[in-house]
């Protein structure tokens, strides 16, 4: 018989998870589907919805702390995030559908770690860090290191993600997110991509990285810094170089909705599209 604990604080939740028989209840969507489909039966559900600390969302200097129970719909349009990382909202604003976005949470998304999800590639390319609490105290882990396989994380059974720290973009940085949807009502991408670029005062590219999602068991980081090498990076042909570099770096998993060749080409085009967006939208901010 499943029991319920309504935690009022993070520590109460940790206590209720300590014996390994409990399972955190966040938005309840992925969890409830798995329960209904018989994939697991929870001995004890630990409801986090009353833990106010987990809903905090605020900018603190050079970063934004987003509580693990922040709903996608809130994250998608929160002014603190829109200001600190313009474009990040796009990685939350078309998750699933309106119902998924109303109930789904950041923490729930990360611990579920479905390879097709939108937030992980965006958070990874931004070097976001998850704060985790367990019986022995607090630790931090990058979102990159948190997700270690399809539906798999490095979180222990008695640990909770409490918040995610997202660094604000620097003055000479740009971020963009793109998602290709084939019209599935589930709203999962055929492929998605997040691009981050930083440039020097003279306009030379300092660092460029794209992270692809929905194509492998975990998000795939691809460095593009060398593709942009040299002052001539904004010339014709760079878009092609980027598309080819990304297409060649992607190793699509078998059994996805699109073929390997299509997936590689799609990832290349998503990266190219983001590069074009970067060029156009930062034109006034870079020396030409």
């Amino acid at each position: 018989m499943t029991t319920l604990v309504r935690a009022r604080t993070v520590d109460e939740a940790i206590e209720a998870l300590a014996d390994g028989e409990g399972h955190a209840l966040a938005g309840g969507q992925a969890l409830t589907i798995l329960m209904k489909e018989g994939f697991f039966s929870a001995g004890r559900l630990v409801d986090l919805s009353a833990v106010g600390e987990l809903r905090d969302l605020a900018r603190h200097g050079d970063h934004v702390d987003v509580g693990a129970m922040s709903r996608h719909a809130v994250v998608a349009r929160h002014p603190a995030l829109a200001e600190a990382v313009p474009g990040l909202g796009d990685a939350f604003g078309s998750i699933g559908n309106v119902r998924v976005r109303a109930a789904g949470t950041l923490g729930g998304n990360l611990v579920h770690a479905d390879p097709r999800q939108d937030p992980p590639p965006a958070l990874i390319v931004l070097d976001a860090v998850a704060r985790v609490r367990g019986p022995s105290g607090d630790r931090t882990v990058t979102v990159d290191e948190l997700i270690d396989g399809a539906l798999s994380t490095t979180l222990e059974a008695d640990e909770l993600i409490t918040s995610v720290t997202i660094p604000a973009l620097g003055e000479r940085e740009w971020f963009g997110f793109s998602k290709f949807l084939a019209g599935s009502s589930e709203g999962f991408a055929t492929a998605n991509a997040a691009l981050r670029v930083s440039w020097e005062p003279d306009g030379a590219i300092e660092r460029a990285e794209v992270c692809l999602g929905a194509v492998g068991p975990t998000p795939r980081r691809v460095s593009l810094t060398s593709t942009f090498a040299g002052p001539g990076w904004s010339g014709a042909g760079v878009g092609d170089d980027i598309a080819v570099a990304v297409a060649e770096s992607v190793e699509p998993t078998v059994g996805r909705p699109s073929s390997s060749d299509y997936t590689r080409a799609l990832c290349g085009e998503l990266a190219r599209g983001l590069f074009d967006r970067f060029v156009v939208s930062t034109r006034g901010r870079r020396p030409t």
């Binding site: 018989m1 029991t3 209720a16 969507q29 489909e37 559900l45 309106v98």
Partner: protein, 163 residues
């Protein structure tokens, strides 16, 4: 399984459905759509896929659209639920119902309550605004219809939202 302070297996709840209070005790695994249909007798909310994808079971919980098939009843303690049956008291529901009929927004009607409740949420969120059709489309992603081909639904939304 070890005992934990405060763990209960039968949960007493109080919540509102269409403005009327409901008091129940449910098992933890009880799902809202079953309570609405079987305990409350409100069968206007339908179960389509049962996994939150199709939107047929959409109700409003504190004004937000929710998949009633995936909402554990314990998650709505203290909340206000609105279903299609709330139409008697809600001019937004009535306006949409009329528009759906006038514009061919339904054939079998199975997805219709979900479509309408989803659109009520949109209307309220953007009260007084002229809502672009692409925003309506985006909002209705996840409300599947097998009959109409969607154009009647979009026409109905536009007609109902006309200021």
């Amino acid at each position: 399984m070890s005992e934990v302070d405060g763990a209960v297996d039968a949960v007493p709840l109080t919540f509102d459905v269409n403005g009327r209070p409901v008091q129940l005790e449910v098992p933890v695994t009880s799902v809202l759509v079953d309570v609405l249909r079987d305990e409350c007798g409100l069968t206007g909310t339908k179960v389509g896929c049962g996994v939150g994808v199709c939107g047929a079971c959409t109700v409003l919980v504190d004004g937000e659209p929710a998949s009633a098939c995936l909402t554990l009843t314990v998650q709505v303690d203290g909340r206000e639920i609105e279903t299609i049956e709330g139409g008697a008291d809600d001019p937004d529901i009535v306006a949409l119902q009329r528009a759906f009929v006038a514009e061919g927004g339904l054939q079998c009607g199975f997805c219709t309550s979900g479509q309408i409740m989803t659109l009520v949420a949109l209307r309220r969120q953007r009260q007084g605004e002229v809502i672009p059709i692409d925003d309506v489309r985006h909002h209705l992603t996840g409300s599947v219809c097998r009959c109409t081909g969607y154009y009647g639904i979009l026409r109905a939304a536009v007609a109902a939202f006309e200021p």
